[in-house]
């Protein structure tokens, strides 16, 4: 199991390093502060309407969540020395990533 979790973690690490900074800067900081004028609803709707956009975003969400799960698991078990709670930690982290992936899949594919 470990090798596959690591592959998901790594792929998530690469994707989030490449894509998240620009998106978070724009939507989280630049638009709210008015540094850049935000795109209208029609434009965003059109971009998100393209299936490729949504598949890429779904990939980003799933892999980023597994990236979080892997790192957070080690942060808890090593950083806080909770190795004896490994089972609970794994369930929380990877279970959380799975649940989040399901929500992302619903919002990006089924509900659109």
């Amino acid at each position: 199991m470990e090798p596959f979790l690591w592959l998901l973690f790594s792929a998530g690490g690469v994707l989030s390093a490449l894509l998240i900074p620009a998106m978070l800067f724009l939507f989280g900081v630049a638009f709210p502060l008015g540094w850049v004028s935000p795109p209208g609803h029609a434009h965003l709707s059109a971009v998100l309407g393209h299936p490729v956009t949504r598949v890429v975003l779904l990939g980003l969400c799933v892999l980023a969540l597994f990236h979080w799960a892997h790192r957070f698991r080690y942060a808890l078990s090593d950083g806080l020395q909770l190795k004896h709670l490994d089972r609970a930690i794994n369930l929380f982290c990877y279970g959380g990533a799975l649940a989040g992936s399901a929500v992302a899949g619903y919002l990006l594919l089924a509900a659109w």
């Binding site: 090798p3 596959f4 592959l7 090593d78 020395q81 190795k83």
Partner: protein, 247 residues
Amino acid sequence: MADRITLRVTRYRPESDTEPAAREYEIPLRKEWSVLDGLNHIKDHLDGTLSYRWSCRMGVCGSCGMTVDGEPKLTCATFLSDHAPGPVRVEPLSNFPVVRDLVVDIGDFMRKLPRVKPWLIRSEQEAPAEGEYPQLPAERAEYEQFSMCINCMLCYAACPVYALDQEFLGPAAIALAQRYNLDSRDRGASERMDVLSEAEGIWACTFVGECSAVCPKDVDPAGSIQRYKFTAAMESLKTLLLPRGMR
């Protein structure tokens, strides 16, 4: 430059002390003196009971590793003048049980090392080659960096994963396994994989990177572990996806 410097050396005498305590020694400060020279001065002139390990004084034997001002260092390659005006803290390497004063027990590593089979493995059925197994310079360059390891244990002392879990195989052992895995003459990669890819092998490493930062020989154990994670992950993918015959 002041002509004297204080070494604050950790002493532990198991027959009388319950725990280690620091003791200060004032020694001459000379430009060309390493911390090891300072310890030798103490041993020869101030206190003959001080125990520590050393041998070559030139960074090849790997026996004089200690913690100098909180950092794992080869004391023969760490100069007093770089730590002036002092006092300079000299402690045993972290993460190992202390036998006496500055001497630690590295038996744990010595038991782990043979598990990764750090030697050239060829098939037993195969007759030995007529003469030598030739190797191109480029093939040699693949593993040369990892062959520089002198087993000084600075990487184990710097590794928080090893500090927290002594079952972890550890940086030097994995780097030395890679030294043979990447050798064009070796055929033992699959034999080593079982040990390397268990939970307490490569997967326990969280890439803190301190092992590579403290390595006096630029072996880069952290890099070797991550590279091996990729190799092991690809092998696992192959086992999962490809039918038996094509692996």
